[in-house]
Every structure is written in structure tokens, then in C-alpha cells.
């Protein structure tokens, strides 16, 4: 009888061990399959870049700061006679109207009408038309690439997802450019004096260009000596959720503060007590 119970006990331990071993094997197998699959997924998955603006979209930028005297000193007096900065001064606005937005296997491009910087509210007939092209794959760009073909030294538009695109581009950009796409897709530029050509720029400059999720330049700040802002341009349209969210946050914060003060001073308790009485 005793030997049977020992035998049964041994059998149960053996069964438990086999089950445990089997469980461990399954767990290990799952883990290996998981790692293996992640390797396969990575080969299948490839990032597709696109265009975040559509035909007939209108984009308006407003100039908040333009220290024309300082810019004359840095870039010479002709800086605002052509290109994207034509007629730039504080309070002026610039408009683009997208005519075409196309993408093929190698190039994504937009064509747009441009109304240069102006104080008038009536835009009238466009001043010019232009086009921006980008390789679909940012890694196509040659090493030490720069944006000297743009007067602003950074583009006003990029393909989307813009963070990933400029991240991919960062490996090929020259030393003036530093991409920070951790939070907001940002292109930081630092150009020492005389680095583009002798006397250009005449002082060292820095630029911070931030892009929105449509790939459009949402903020452009050009800094001169002593990190003073000499050009500040921003996209006029705010996303629809910004103001309601901000109001919501302030209401919640104010209510929270009032509730805390009431609670701390025992006002709530007194009110409840008086209601009960």
C-alpha cells in the first residue's frame, strides 16, 4: 500500500516536472518566435513618404519680427529684393496657393502661386509661381547637402511624415544643419561668419525652423549676435483644437486651485454643514 502511494507520488512529481518542462519550452518557444517575427516584420515594413498639402490649399505666414537694419548688415542690402523674403517687414503676410501636389516613384513636388510679403488684406493677383521638389527617399541626397537654393536657408515645405523625413535627411546634411525630431520636427541651423562665401553671412547666424504635421513651416526664427531674434515668421492658421484645449486646461487648473483653497480653509465643510443645518 505504502509502495503504491510512493509510486503515485513519484508519478505525480514526474508528471508535474514534465508539465513544467513543457511549459518552459512553450514559453521559450514563444519568446524565440516573437523575436524571429520582429526580425521578419522589420524587413517587410518600409516607411512611405507623402505630401501633406492638397491642391487649392492656401497657406499664409505672418512676419512678427523683421530687424531690417541687422539683416542688411548680415546678408547685404539686396536680401529682400528677390526670393522668399521679397518685401519682408514686420506685420506683413505672405500667401501660397497650392496648384499641384504630385508624387511619383522618385520625386514629390508641389507647384504654388506666391503673393509676396504685404500689409494689404486684399491679395489680388499673385506675384509669382514656383515649385519645390524633394526626392521621395531622403537618403537619395548626396553627402554634405544644404538648402542654399532657398533664400531662407531652410525649405518652407517638406514631405510627410516630416519628422522621419528630416531624420532620414539628417545623415546627408552638411554641418550647418542639425535635425531635432524628438518632439517637434525641427531644423536647427548654425552658420558661422563667412561660411557660405566671404562676407556672407557677415556675422554668425542661427535658425530654428519648426514644421507642422502637414510638413509646412510653422515657425521660423533667425537669430543674430547674442541670440537676438532678427526674423520671426509663423504660419497664421492654428489647428482648430488649440484654443478649446487651452481654455479647457485653464478652466480645469483654476477649478482645481479654487477647490484646493476651499478644502484647505475648510470652506467646503462649512458650506456642507450650513446646508445640512
Amino acid at each position: 500500500m505504502l509502495s503504491i502511494s510512493i509510486w503515485l507520488k513519484k508519478k505525480r512529481i514526474k508528471q508535474w516536472r514534465t508539465k513544467k518542462l513543457k511549459g518552459n519550452k512553450i514559453l521559450l518557444g514563444c519568446l524565440l518566435v516573437f523575436i524571429f517575427i520582429s526580425g521578419i516584420i522589420s524587413n517587410v515594413y518600409a516607411l512611405n513618404y507623402g505630401i501633406g498639402v492638397n491642391q487649392n490649399d492656401e497657406l499664409v505666414w505672418k512676419c512678427k519680427v523683421s530687424n531690417n537694419y541687422e539683416i542688411d548688415l548680415i546678408f547685404g542690402s539686396e536680401w529682400d529684393s528677390s526670393g522668399i523674403f521679397t518685401n519682408l517687414s514686420r506685420g506683413t503676410k505672405m500667401k501660397w496657393k497650392i496648384n499641384t501636389a504630385e508624387i511619383n516613384d522618385t520625386v514629390s513636388s508641389i507647384e504654388y502661386d506666391i503673393w509676396f510679403w504685404s500689409l494689404k488684406d486684399d491679395w489680388g493677383v499673385n506675384d509669382n509661381s514656383s515649385q519645390i521638389n524633394f526626392f521621395v527617399d531622403p537618403k537619395e541626397y548626396s553627402e554634405n547637402y544644404n538648402f542654399l537654393n532657398f533664400t531662407s536657408l531652410v525649405p518652407f515645405w517638406f514631405p510627410i511624415p516630416v519628422g522621419e523625413y528630416i531624420g532620414g535627411l539628417s545623415l546627408n546634411l552638411n554641418t550647418w544643419y542639425d535635425v531635432d525630431n524628438r518632439v517637434l520636427p525641427t531644423l536647427n541651423v548654425h552658420i558661422p561668419k563667412d561660411d557660405i562665401s566671404p562676407g556672407y553671412p557677415n556675422k554668425e547666424i542661427s535658425i530654428i525652423a519648426i514644421y507642422n504635421d502637414r510638413g509646412v513651416l510653422s515657425s521660423y526664427k533667425l537669430y543674430g549676435e547674442g541670440n537676438t531674434v532678427i526674423i520671426d515668421i509663423s504660419l497664421e492658421d492654428l489647428p482648430f483644437y488649440v484654443i478649446p484645449s487651452l481654455i479647457g486646461l485653464f478652466i480645469a487648473f483654476s477649478l482645481g486651485t479654487i477647490f484646493y483653497i476651499f478644502k484647505k480653509k475648510g470652506i467646503l465643510r462649512r458650506i456642507i454643514k450650513s446646508q445640512v443645518n
Binding site: 523575436i35 520582429s38 516584420i41 516607411l47 518632439v183 541670440n227
Partner: protein, 420 residues
């Protein structure tokens, strides 16, 4: 009974607690979610990419370890940190990420064990004798939302947390000098991986100002041993700097010469809030001066609080808490996942303070904010940054904890109340 079966039995026992089951399920969800989000969205924008690359560059082109053109974002840490990432660089990037995060899960298990051991060691006498409440708080740590970003970005905060907790446990458990040395060496290793614990170094000095006797008291031998211990591993980097001079230049350039203005982000450090303010209102600024100023003010205040403490019991816990809070308030980039370094220390403080102490309340409030709400404010920041680019809520709760530490350590009335 071997360690494995002991561990399984313990887990079986813990499984009886509903909160533990919820914590395990939630934490597993964070892990799986992070892997999915990595493959869908965050593969190209990931901190782990830098750690992965650094191992490879350390192996093949060490002189260019600080050539930032090789990296997605700047690599700023000490050169020896690359050794920790070297094994991952041998795998493909995606597999390395998954394996790295499996390690992160294991680290969280270890952190929970060490956290439990520290709590049991320092728990105030009037706390419940059973472990129910300890389990609840450890589960709060495991359920914390900062784990999501930590997993998604493939971050290394958990290594730092584990090293900090282990060194804290050693400092608290053993008084002998050799153990003080071991504890500080472990802290030094954490600084090699990521310099988060750099601000903890001044708090290793056992210095106190006796307000009654108006005298400074310094435990010279313990302080020296701790300082030697923490500096020793960090100084190993200087062998590399000596062997490869470009490394030293690159390290200095990356960490200390960036005076250019920088753009907006949702960091909740005071330095970053000031930088965001200057950026937003076009005020000329130099980020290095802002950093130094904030370190001097917050760091100086924190150290004064530590020196003026009225109670010497478990002072190292409060020193560590001050050090981490100073780091989070002063350094430019304080993200949600960095809170994983602070949360366990706050839990330890809650258990070290008397059960019904009024001082516990601000720590509990901050703990729940950091664990469950801070991440939401990161989301809110994205909604409102064009008009209000300040993620100040985390700063507010860090300052509350800072003030609570001041109240506990320095204020006379607090100690009288507690003695009563």
C-alpha cells in the same frame, strides 16, 4: 528550495492579490503596446537607435564616438557606456530592440524585489506589519504610465533605477566602509551608463550642520570612501579619453559648448521652461547660462536643506530624493520616463515616514501624479503648444516634493509634531 521555486511560490502568493494581477496584466500590455508602436510608428524616431549605433561605433570606429553625424540624435554619455550596448549592436536593430525591452521587463522585476527589500528595511514602526500595503505601492510603480514611453523609446532609465536602489540598499543595510565603497561603486557604474545620478554625488558626503550647537559635523572616512567609490568607475572613462584625445574633445563639445538657442519641447525642467519662455517671447538667451543658474539656485537650496537636516536617520534616502529632484528640475531634458528614477524613492519615503504623518500627503499626491497623470499633460502640451508651450504640471509636483522634503528635514515644528 532553490531560488527559482522560491520565486515561483512568491509569485503564486502575490497572484492572490487582485492589484498584483491588474499590475502584471497592465504592465504586460505596456510591453506589447510598445513593441507594436515601435514597429508601426517609432522605429525611425527612437532613443534605442543611438544606443544601438554607439555599440557598433565603439567597436569599429571608437575615435569618432562623438561624431554626431553618425547618430539620429546626439550621443552625450560617457564612452564606457557604449560597452553596455555592445551586445545589442551584434543583433539586427529590430531584434535588438525586442531583446532590450525583454531585459527591461526583467529589470522591472528586479527593481520591484529590491524596492521591497529597501521598504522592509526602512519601514517606520507604526506601519502595518503585513506586506499588503507594500505590494499595493510596488504595483503602483509597475502600473505607472511612464513605463509606456520608457519601453517605446527603448530607454535605459531602469538600469539607473536598479543601480540607485541597490546602492541605497547597501548604504542602508551595511555600515562597514567596504560596503559603503561597494554601494558607491555601483552608483558610479550607473553614472557611466547615464549621468542621471551625477547630482547624487554631493549627497554621499555625510555632512550636517547642527543648528543647536551651530557646528558642522562631517563623517570624513565614510564620505571619502563613498566619493572614491563613485569616482572610481567614472574615472575609467579618462583612460579612454587619454588613449583617444578626439573622444575628450567630442565629449566636451557635445555636452558643454551648445550655447545656441534651441526649440520648444515638453520637458518639465525649470531650465527648459525658462528656455521655452525666452524662445516664445523672443528674449535673447544662452541655454548654458540658464542651466548653470538653475543648478546653482535649486542645487544650492537642495544641498542646504540636506545639510540643515534635523534628523540623521536614513538621511541617504532623502539625499537621493533631493539629488534626483534637482536633476529633474535643473537639466534641460526631463521627460516623463525619467520619473521612473524618482517614483521608487518616493515610495520608500512614504514608508519611512510615520504612517499617519501629514508630510506623507504631498509625496502621495506627487506619486500619483507622476505615475498616472503626467503623461496626459504631455499629450495636452501637443494640443496647446502653439499658444502655451509650457509643460509646467510636472514641475509643480516636483516643487511640491522638494518643499515637502524641506518641511520634513529642516522645519522644527514638523519634528516636534512627529515626536509628539
Amino acid at each position: 528550495m532553490n531560488i527559482g521555486s522560491k520565486f515561483i511560490n512568491k509569485v503564486k502568493h502575490l497572484w492572490d492579490h487582485k492589484i498584483f494581477r491588474v499590475a502584471v496584466i497592465l504592465h504586460s500590455f505596456y510591453f506589447i503596446l510598445s513593441i507594436i508602436l515601435f514597429f508601426l510608428l517609432y522605429k525611425e524616431k527612437n532613443d534605442f537607435r543611438i544606443f544601438y549605433d554607439v555599440g557598433d561605433i565603439f567597436l569599429n570606429d571608437i575615435e569618432n564616438l562623438y561624431d554626431q553625424t553618425y547618430y539620429l540624435w546626439d550621443f552625450r554619455y560617457f564612452p564606457l557606456s557604449a560597452l553596455f550596448f555592445l551586445p545589442f549592436s551584434l543583433l539586427s536593430f529590430e531584434v535588438a530592440f525586442v531583446v532590450f525591452n525583454i531585459f527591461n521587463v526583467l529589470l522591472n522585476i528586479l527593481i520591484s524585489i529590491v524596492l521591497y527589500k529597501v521598504i522592509v528595511l526602512v519601514r517606520s514602526k507604526d506601519h502595518e506589519k503585513d506586506d499588503k500595503r507594500v505590494i499595493i505601492y510596488i504595483c503602483v510603480y509597475l502600473m505607472g504610465l511612464p513605463h509606456i514611453l520608457n519601453y517605446i523609446y527603448g530607454q535605459i532609465n531602469l538600469y539607473i533605477t536598479l543601480f540607485i536602489l541597490v546602492s541605497l540598499y547597501i548604504f542602508l543595510k551595511y555600515e562597514e566602509l567596504k560596503w559603503q565603497l561597494i554601494g558607491s561603486v555601483i552608483l558610479g557604474i550607473s553614472i557611466i551608463i547615464k549621468p542621471t545620478a551625477l547630482f547624487l554625488i554631493p549627497f554621499l558626503i555625510v555632512l550636517k550642520y547642527n543648528q543647536g550647537k551651530r557646528k558642522f559635523k562631517l563623517d570624513f572616512s565614510t564620505s571619502i570612501v563613498r566619493l572614491v567609490g563613485v569616482v572610481l568607475p567614472v574615472s575609467l572613462n579618462f583612460i579612454l579619453f587619454f588613449m583617444y584625445p578626439p573622444l575628450w574633445e567630442g565629449f566636451l563639445e557635445t555636452n558643454f559648448t551648445g550655447s545656441n538657442p534651441v526649440a520648444l519641447n515638453f520637458s518639465f525642467s525649470i531650465s527648459k521652461l525658462i528656455i521655452n519662455f525666452c524662445y516664445f517671447f523672443n528674449i535673447p538667451f544662452n541655454q548654458v547660462f540658464i542651466l548653470i543658474g538653475v543648478i546653482c539656485i535649486i542645487g544650492g537650496l537642495g544641498y542646504f536643506i540636506f545639510i540643515l537636516r534635523r534628523n540623521d536617520n536614513y538621511s541617504v534616502i532623502y539625499g537621493f530624493a533631493l539629488g534626483i529632484i534637482i536633476m529633474l528640475l535643473a537639466y534641460y531634458d526631463s521627460w516623463d520616463h525619467h520619473l521612473l528614477n524618482l517614483i521608487p524613492i518616493l515610495i520608500i519615503i512614504i514608508f519611512n515616514l510615520p504612517r499617519n504623518s501629514v508630510i506623507t500627503k504631498p509625496f502621495k499626491t506627487s506619486l500619483s501624479f507622476f505615475s498616472f497623470f503626467d503623461l496626459a499633460f504631455v499629450g495636452i502640451w501637443y494640443l496647446i503648444y502653439p499658444l502655451f508651450p509650457f509643460n509646467f504640471e510636472g514641475t509643480f509636483f516636483l516643487l511640491i516634493s522638494f518643499y515637502a522634503l524641506y518641511k520634513y528635514l529642516v522645519k522644527k515644528e514638523t519634528h516636534q509634531t512627529m515626536e509628539d
